[in-house]
Amino acid sequence: MSAAFFVLAHPFLESAFAAGTAIALAAGLMGSVVVLRGQVFAGDALSHVAFTGALAALALGVDLRLGLYGGCVAFGLLLALLGRRSAADDTVIGSAFAWVLGLGALFLSLFTTSSSGTGGDGTAGVNVLFGSILGLTGGQALADTVVALAVASAVVALGRPLLFASLDPAVAASRGVPVRALSYGFYVLLGVTAGVATQAVGALLLLGLLAAPAGAAQRLCARPVAALWLSAAIAVGAMWAGLSIAYVVPVVPPSFGILAVATAVYLATFARAAVTRRLDGTDTTADARDLVVAP
């Protein structure tokens, strides 16, 4: 109700809500698969790459989105290739990311120094890091909406086989599910999601948009398909609530509002589990999840 009121009030809010809804839908659906596969770290990795990719594009004077999507999708494919060798060592991964981020700092400095005469300033770097959904122009918002909806429908289309392959790759492979192709598809979709979410909540915070709604949903219901939709619903709800908070309290950055709501929902699921456990002495949700996910 109130959201509808805001949308009528300002055109920039209209694009923010439209793009934000689509992006939250994509991130919520995608995040569910990410958490199910235990690959939250891949989201972490992509957030580093998104930052560096976007700033490399800016430093080279190309459109930001070219670097963003290019970097994220290329890195997603790389992860898919590496994923064949069992989970790589977190030290190696962490070191590589830190270096990628260091490169991002370099591009940021190159960009801010090279274009200081033409209006480029530190804002670009901060926007890439923390997002600027209220600053999207109509055209950008439209492009983001289309991309995000494409990702969402791809996840829905791949839904069952993708969840099957994520939960139990060995059985899925033996039942004729193309596990390997799905893995590539998953990483490409994740890369695109990261690219599009960076424009909404920023490279550093997209991890939260992927992990928090999905984590909450999977704590609330044990059935993977239901959790998928619940996660999308929570993400979209967090997006709307966060944008409204940011509109009402101008000092709050929209990214913070969105993340705060998503985190609060996740926290509430823990509180709920604690209360249930105290009431009937068992933790039913956790038990059910153990049965579902235990490899």
Binding site: V35, L36, G38, V40, G43, D44, D89, D90, T91, G94, S95, A96, A98, W99, L101, G102, L103, A105, L106, L108, S109, L110, T113, D121, G122, T123, G125, V126, L129, F130, G202, L204, L205, L206, L207, G208, L209, L210, A211, A212, A214, G215, Q218, R219, V251, V252, P253, S255, F256, L259, A260, A262, T263, Y266, D283, A286, R289, D290, V293, A294
Partner: protein, 313 residues
């Protein structure tokens, strides 16, 4: 930085260059702070890599950003904010997980991811509340060694001494608990208390390192030298010494290069750190290959897998 680079571009005589650089008080302070941080980060990082707690270290480092941002907003010193953020987060991490066994790992990583992202979002909020310069935000995230005050150097040194002292006291049992948790437990080593102490040590260290490399690039000093050392040797004392030496080289070279270049110091620290790590990995591969050819057991056993069994997921 630009003004400096123009003012004092590198000449042909390296000795004169170094002397000119060290004539500036803030560069002396930068080297002092960098040295303290490099030693501390290498020692703690060595234990951390062995314990496979890199992501805990990463999270603690990230949390120092909202801590510092909040401190600046409230008008307190950023140093206090770094420590408050990281130590508080270390306590939270120490209290929360491992309460229920058999919790799926995927949930745990979702928690860590959410905590990280939310911490960074809080940082963004505090920066927005402060409404100050954008420079400060990139400084907090990517590091700046300019303007390290005398007082800050003293604080860094005191905290580093305390942390190293604690680590010296708990060192042996900690190593035992890391390498073989169940056996250490059976022998009466308080593994749970040790892991809490280590998380606090890690929190203090992450806060110290953040002040030089920025919250996002802590890995460069905390992990890379230590991981490089562990590629080269499995012996604890030698490994620690090697990690410290590599850390010092990385910091000193980075500071010197950054002084004469317009690019940020975080870029150099992470690049040199990564180069050191890749170099060490390459040496290990080469040594292994030769060993296989000679087919003789040697001291340079692969270290990578040792900690895996010991640390519970």
């Amino acid at each position: 930085m630009h003004a400096l680079a123009v003012l004092a571009g590198p000449g042909l005589d390296p000795v004169a260059d170094v002397r000119r650089m060290l004539a500036l008080h803030f560069m002396v302070n930068a080297f002092r702070a960098g040295t303290v941080v490099a030693v501390l980060a290498a020692v703690v990082g060595w234990h951390m890599v062995l314990r496979r707690q890199s992501f805990a270290g990463h999270t603690l480092a990230v949390v120092s950003f909202p801590g510092a941002a909040a401190a600046i907003w409230l008008g307190v010193s950023a140093t206090a904010g770094y420590f408050a953020g990281s130590v508080a987060a270390a306590l939270v991490i120490a209290l929360v997980p491992r309460s229920s066994s058999g919790r799926p790992r995927s949930q745990e990583s979702a928690v860590i991811g959410t905590v990280q992202a939310f911490a960074l979002a809080c940082g963004a909020l505090f920066v927005s509340l402060y409404g100050g310069f954008l420079d400060s935000i990139t400084g907090l995230l990517f590091g700046s060694f300019l303007g390290v005050s005398d007082g800050q150097v003293v604080t860094l040194a005191v905290v580093a001494l305390v942390v190293l002292g604690v680590l010296a006291v708990v060192g042996r049992p900690l190593l035992f608990a890391t390498v073989d948790g169940p056996v250490a437990d059976a022998r009466g080593v308080p593994t749970r208390a040790l892991s809490v102490v280590f998380l606090l040590v890690l929190g203090c260290t992450a806060a110290e390192v953040s002040q030089i490399t920025g919250a996002l690039l802590v890995f460069a000093l905390l992990v890379m030298p230590a991981a490089a050392a562990q590629q080269l040797t499995a012996r604890p004392v030698l490994g620690l010494a090697l990690a410290v030496a590599l850390g010092l080289v990385v910091v000193w070279v980075s500071l010197a290069v950054a002084f004469y270049s317009p690019w940020p110091v975080g870029f150099f620290v992470s690049s040199f750190g990564f180069a050191v790590y890749v170099g060490a990995a390459a040496i290990r591969v080469a040594v292994r290959r030769r060993q296989r050819r000679v087919a003789a057991p040697a001291d340079l056993a692969p270290v990578g897998g040792h900690g895996t069994a010991a640390v519970p997921a």
